[in-house]
């Protein structure tokens, strides 16, 4: 019943309330008036009957004195004028009935029983029938006294027909008034309830439109100052705040996207400039061929690069045309063939040298100046028999104390038995490329630092401003909800729930954005907790197992190192999920021998790291960024991937 009433429209509820109030008030008023009417009737009837009894007593006093019963009966007969007097008696003090009056014969029996015991009535007391019911006959016993002496007792019995008639008339009038009042109240309620239900309907309609269209620019058009007006204003303010924060969030997202696009463009531009610089440097002539004299061995040298018909001479000419240092070396015979660049580097004055001693001296000088850029002993590059390293980047410190970089490629020449008899070395100057790479690396580091700062600032701004406003919005929504009337709260319960759900959803999204921008646990609890959150999040988001192997006692690192390792792990896991199709990704973090080691491996498709196309190409920028991040904090980055057998990246760095 309560639920049914609760689900009724407010207008109908108000009508019911008014009807119930009118009915209750009418019943109460009718009851009060009925009781008052009955009491008034009883009081007036009692006074009237006592007055009549007194008159009868007075008028029959002489008849009693002179024992004239006929005169007394004549006096009583005057009661016939009152249609409600049923019977009357005059009793002497001895109890003898002196005179009687009976309106109809049927009242005679009543008269006999009614006068029994009346003689015991005390002098002066007026006895009434104490137990008389509402419509039962009323008996009045009136002792008539003169100067304190009881002369006689007058007994009157009357019916309540007058009361009955009066109550019936009163009931009819009351019902008519109730019906008339109900009709008037219905008309007034119908007119007035529109002032209440109209704004509420507008409010509900606006809420439904907002819910359906997510258009927070809608407003409720109601400007009164009553409770509904306050509610509409509060709802409008809430919509305004939601709209404002939605726009603010969109602006933040646009700004982030713009900044990322800008940084990406800068990186691309830097990369292109670097590549262009390398390309431009590659076509520059390294030496002035025209000024140099070519010395051919044993009198077979032709000045000015002319063809001498000798294959060695052709080879020598070809070697000099290559923008690289080329060296043929036969260790057993000690013969060596070097072009002008190589001879210059080795400190020889001729390209063809059979003097082993001179070559050995130059070679030692060269080896002494050369430093491998990747930690490999540069001597291995020139180990003819081992030939374990075919390619190596080395740095040379020239006589002018200027660093130069070379890319050295070696290739063995073997006899029929497969034994290495001669080695060919080609050393290409990559100083400009290295400088461009250094510029690019520096730009990348700055970009990474800038991005990290941007992420931190954006996360902080979202947390401090948007989070605060969302909290205020939530509180205002609760205040509005609590300040609404119960009836209105019940009717808007579903809508209010939607608003709260939207606010919670918006808060959750903002929290996710903040976490992805800059995981707060990375700053608060360190790398281990951040990686735990990352692996759990990625496992939940994608259909892949991302497991973390880390010692629970793994210590905190420097902030820069933790940030770099977290970003590397994040990028590696993302790449594995996006490109490898792996089912299991393992992130392992440990420390040994004072070095921190991060390894991310997967069982995905893998790729060829040296292939200029395919996955390697797609991931190249990400790999560069990972490498740069590692090197920026003094670490090393190693990538191992075999097609069909997964990928593994390893980062190692020393604790700061």
């Amino acid at each position: 019943m309560t639920t049914k009433i609760r689900d009724l429209p407010i207008g109908l509820k108000m009508g019911l309330i008014v009807a119930l109030i009118i009915l209750s008030v009418s019943i109460l008023a009718m009851t009060v008036f009925f009781v008052h009417e009955i009491r008034s009737f009883q009081r007036s009837e009692r006074q009237y009957r006592q007055s009549m009894a007194r008159i009868i007593g007075r008028n029959t006093m002489a008849a009693i004195d002179f024992q004239d019963r006929d005169a007394a009966r004549t006096t009583l007969a005057a009661l016939a004028e009152d249609p409600h007097i049923m019977s009357a008696w005059i009793l002497l003090n001895s109890g003898e009935v002196f005179a009687t009056y009976v309106r109809s014969p049927g009242h005679g029996e009543l008269a006999t029983t009614s006068v029994a015991g009346l003689t015991m009535t005390a002098p002066g007391a007026v006895a009434e029938d104490k137990a008389w019911r509402l419509f039962a006959p009323i008996k009045t016993v009136y002792p008539f006294l003169v100067q304190g002496e009881k002369i006689s007792t007058v007994v009157l019995v009357s019916d309540t027909g007058e009361l009955r008639v009066r109550l019936l008339v009163y009931l009819g009038l009351s019902c008519s008034v109730v019906l008339l009042a109900g009709a008037i109240a219905y008309l007034i309620t119908t007119r007035l309830q529109r002032t209440i239900t109209g704004p509420l309907s507008a409010l509900v309609t606006t809420m439904e439109r907002v819910t359906a269209s997510r258009d927070y620019s809608l407003r409720v058009d109601y400007a009164a100052r009553d409770e509904i007006g306050l509610l509409a204003q509060g709802f409008n303010r809430m919509l305004q705040e939601v709209e404002h924060h939605g726009e603010q969030l969109v602006r933040y997202q646009d700004r982030l996207a713009d900044m990322i696009a800008l940084r990406t463009e800068e990186l691309h531009r830097a990369k292109e400039e670097a590549e262009h610089a390398v390309l431009r440097n590659g076509v520059q002539p390294a030496h002035d061929d025209t000024a140099a004299a070519v010395t051919m061995p044993q009198g077979k040298v032709h000045e000015g690069g002319e063809t001498c018909g000798n294959s060695l001479a052709r080879l020598y000419a070809l070697m000099n045309c290559i923008d690289a240092e080329v060296l043929f070396l036969e260790e057993e015979s000690g013969s060596m063939l070097a072009n002008r660049g190589a001879a210059l580097t080795l400190g020889l004055d001729r390209g063809l040298c059979l003097d082993q001693k001179a070559f050995a001296e130059g070679y030692e000088i060269y080896r002494g100046n050369a430093r491998s850029l990747h930690g490999v002993d540069s001597r291995h590059c020139f180990d003819l028999k081992g030939a374990r390293v075919r390619q190596m980047e080395v740095m040379l410190l020239g006589s002018d104390n200027i660093q130069h970089y070379q890319m050295i490629n070696s290739e063995p020449l073997r006899d029929e038995a497969g034994a290495t008899v001669e080695m060919v070395f080609v050393a290409r100057d990559i100083t400009t490329q290295k400088e461009a790479e250094e510029v690019m690396r520096h730009s990348a580091r700055r970009l990474l630092e800038s991005e990290e700062r941007l992420r931190m600032n954006l996360a902080a701004e979202l947390h401090d401003e948007v989070g605060r406003d969302l909290t205020a919005l939530h509180l205002n929504s609760e205040i509005i909800n609590n300040s609404m009337p119960d009836e209105l709260r019940e009717s808007l319960k579903e809508r209010i729930g939607i608003v709260h759900s939207l606010l919670d959803d918006l808060g959750g999204k903002i929290a996710n954005i903040i976490s992805e921008l800059r995981p707060p646990m990375l700053d608060d609890f360190g790398l281990r907790t951040a990686l735990k959150w990352l692996t759990g999040l990625e496992s939940m988001r994608h259909d892949v197992v991302v497991e973390l192997l880390v010692d629970t006692a793994f210590p905190r690192l420097a902030t820069a190192q933790e940030t770099a390792l977290y970003r590397i792990a994040q990028e590696a896991v993302t790449n594995a999920i996006k490109h490898s199709g792996a089912s299991t990704i393992t992130v392992e973090l440990g420390e040994s021998d004072g070095k921190v080691r991060l390894e991310v491996s997967d069982d995905g498709s893998g790729f060829d790291p040296y292939s200029p196309h395919g996955t390697a190409k797609r991931q190249s920028w990400g790999l560069v960024i990972m490498r740069e991040r590692a090197e920026a904090v003094g670490g090393t980055f190693t990538l191992e991937s075999i097609p069909g057998r997964g990928t593994r990246i390893v980062v190692e760095l020393g604790r700061e």
Partner: protein, 205 residues
């Protein structure tokens, strides 16, 4: 009830005076019967547990006093000192024996005194005078004297009110009623109540 019947029988006998036989013998028989009846009535004790009904003169004596409630006598008829009203009983009448017990009765603010009166001059000072049946012979003189002295006269003499008396008792069956000569009463300066007038059997102007 038996007493009432006997009383009634006696009254009827007295009023009708009817007996069979010759006149002489009838008178003799009547005297004997009356004597017996009087003896029997006077010697018969009342029934145990019953109050004997009042006699005719007791009723009349009571009425004589009650007249004072409905008749406002002339001021001179009421003694000044203690508001005493004197009822005089004139002549040899059973009324004396019936009214004398009422001497000293207090009625409203008055004290009723009953006094025997022999001569008209003795009526002075009385408010009401009852004239016994034996005074029929000088009734005119008495009424005239009372009228001059503003004395209300009451009597059971037949047709008393027509003779100028104030109030006259009459017997109606077993009840005692009365007639009023309003002119005579008013002539004494008394004012008579309408209640009393309404109860009167006859009102003579």
């Amino acid at each position: 009830m038996a007493m009432v019947q006997r009383t009634c029988g006696r009254s009827r006998f007295q009023r009708n005076g009817f007996l069979p036989g010759r006149p002489e013998s009838r008178w003799l028989t009547a005297v004997v019967i009356m004597a017996l009846a009087i003896f029997l009535l006077s010697s018969t004790p009342p029934c145990r547990g019953e109050t004997p009904p009042p006699g005719e003169y007791q009723v009349k004596a009571a009425y004589l006093v009650r007249f004072l409630k409905y008749v406002e006598l002339h001021g001179e008829a009421v003694a000044d000192k203690d508001s005493t009203i004197v009822i005089g009983i004139l002549g040899d009448s059973p009324m004396w024996s019936a009214a004398s017990p009422l001497d000293g009765t207090r009625l409203q603010n008055h004290v009723v005194r009953v006094r025997r009166v022999e001569e008209p001059e003795e009526m002075r000072g009385c408010g009401i005078v009852f004239i016994g049946a034996g005074e029929t012979g000088r009734l005119g003189q008495l009424v005239e004297f009372a009228g001059h002295n503003r004395i209300l006269t009451v009597s059971d003499i037949r047709r008393f009110v027509y003779a100028g008396g104030g109030i006259g008792f009459v017997n109606r069956g077993k009840h005692v009623r009365f007639e009023i000569n309003r002119t005579a009463v008013q002539a004494t300066g008394a004012r008579i109540s309408s209640d009393l007038l309404r109860l009167a059997d006859r009102i003579v102007e």
